[in-house]
Amino acid sequence: MGEIRNFKSGNQGERPPHGAVPRRLAAIIVGDIASYSRLMQADEEGTHVRVKRIERDLIQPSIVEHHGSLVKTTGDGFIAIFDSPVEAVRCSIVIQQNLVGRNASLPKDSRIEYRIGVNLGDVIVESDDIYGDGVNIATRIEGIAEPGQVFISGAIYEQIKHKVVCGYESLGDRKVKNITDPVRVYRVLPDADAVSRTRGRRENILIFFLSLALLVIAGYVLWYMLAQPGSQVGQHAAAPPAVAPTASPTPAEPGSTAPAPQVAPAASPSPTAVPSPAALPSLVPLPSTASIREPEMVAIRAGSLAMGSIDDPTERPVHQVAIKPFAIGKYPVTVREWNECAAAKACGFTAIGKDDAPVTNVSWTDAQQYAVWLAQATKKPYRLPSEAEWEYAARGGTQTKYWWGDKLQPGMAACKDCGDVSADQPVKVGSFKPNPFGLYDMGGGVDQWVADCWHKNYQGAPADGSAWIGADCTSHVLRSGSWKNDARYVRPANRDSYDTNVRYPTHGLRIALGP
């Protein structure tokens, strides 16, 4: 590590033959192995051989492939320069993603993980080294990157934000050592792991605050009831669990049948109104709210995506869309969930089939009815997702053709040629791997209605993540493709249309929650 950071102390004696100092603007990648000293201590020769192999097989070819040039390698790192910031970031992503594959089979403490920092700067280029502020900033950014991640400077971000399709997380302005001005730093979120890690951490914080809030509420309720006359003390047994499900974003497990925790929300706002805990289940004031099995939801944080692809005329042009935070169903709506709407006479038909299979033969109008019913019954803003939200959720922070990569893999989705047998019915929800956002069946399985009217391409599409609704809406957008479609339809960018009022046996829906 020390060697890399020591650019200015390098071999300054040599100058290229031509007299003037050769300066140029370049995108600089600095990579460095995390815990190199520990790896060397554990297995000096083995580590050395592995590092050299990674440099030879992965790093050098990736740089060449992206039209960059390797300036130098050091014991535990490398420096490369690129004419194009886009190519520099793409190259960094390729290197990191390939390393994930190489590391997958190794135990944690013998993994070779690089931190990578990318900066744009005017630098002095010499035959075997480069010098300048730009290099030092790249090194500092690399220093704060987490192992396995790519951090980029604001200058790089400005160049690539609409060009490299992946997520960016702003880490704000960072003060870096020996550099006067703070540097804006972004984390690049190209791969599945990076996204889910971020999400995990944010969720943990969220859960922490949620439970804190719950504790305060529970404490207040306890105090309130203890302050009341003795006859009502017994209630506090019911009160704390009553609060929990209302605040949790995922109230219902699809497998569970006990309605008990969902009975409670109705009772919690007015604990004194209910005479005794024993009578609670039968005396629920709002029976419809109490018995509803809400689809399990996953919170999606705000972000942006490059929506669309060049694979099909309907998916062009690729355009940047900002997404506000929302929640989306972990699975497509199931037969069991649908039939609660049917039982309430709010949905057009009773679905047949296994309880945990996705509901099918749903028209857009049917899907909309379900969303309206669910919103009214639960008093929560349930709705159909917008097309942009669907694609953002389906991509799960990835920029690849499929969410798992560019190649078709068996066991990832239900489709005609995805490697699994097609049946008359789609298999039960959640039978395949979840995407990086923890969502199941985002691609294959059942076609899923979204709120948007059909437009034959994205010319004039909104950029704020809202549904694109037109005046004459005879057909709406379907996403995901079905178990009867081929692999092209499984792509997160794929879109199709169908008549608004017509049912078809492969069409289902997924619900969203948010204003």
Binding site: D447, D496, Y498, D499, T500, N501, V502, Y504
Partner: protein, 141 residues
């Protein structure tokens, strides 16, 4: 002997398939499905209207189960035979007109394309025998 055997086998197959699937609603023998435009071999520049013709049957919405009526499906560059036991597929090469449309505006990439109409019943199954148009090919410049 062999022929008898074959006949018996095919009869059995037909019987078993019609027994297993109650789909495949009977259609009038003289029903005819055809393209009003374009005609076979037509050269076209840009987008074009496709108009569907149907005689001796009626066009209705998908989902409406009336005798002797169905809705149109337009197959673009489809070479797979129609499976009478399955709903007509829904994808970018099988366009559905379940709202009872009898025409559509198509924009296809340059080259030669084939078009074919298939009539579907209330649940998108082909009729028995299938009501299909002859295949026309158009050349887009």
């Amino acid at each position: 002997m062999k022929i008898v055997c074959c006949l018996a086998l095919s009869a059995l197959l037909v019987l078993s398939s019609s027994a297993a699937y109650s789909q495949g609603k009977p259609a009038p023998k003289d029903a005819r499905l055809y393209f009003i435009t374009p005609h076979d071999g037509q050269k076209i520049r840009g987008g074009f209207w496709v108009r569907f013709g149907l005689r001796n049957m009626g066009v209705t919405h998908a989902g409406d189960d009336y005798q002797n009526s169905g809705h149109h499906h337009l197959l673009i560059d489809v070479n797979d035979p129609i499976d009478p036991k399955e709903p007509i597929p829904q994808d970018k090469s099988h366009l559905h007109f379940g709202a009872g449309q009898t025409e559509t505006f198509l924009e296809l990439p340059p080259g030669t394309h084939t078009l074919q109409l298939v009539l579907g019943d209330a649940k998108h199954y082909p009729f028995d025998p299938p009501i299909v148009s002859s295949k026309v090919s158009v050349r887009i410049r």
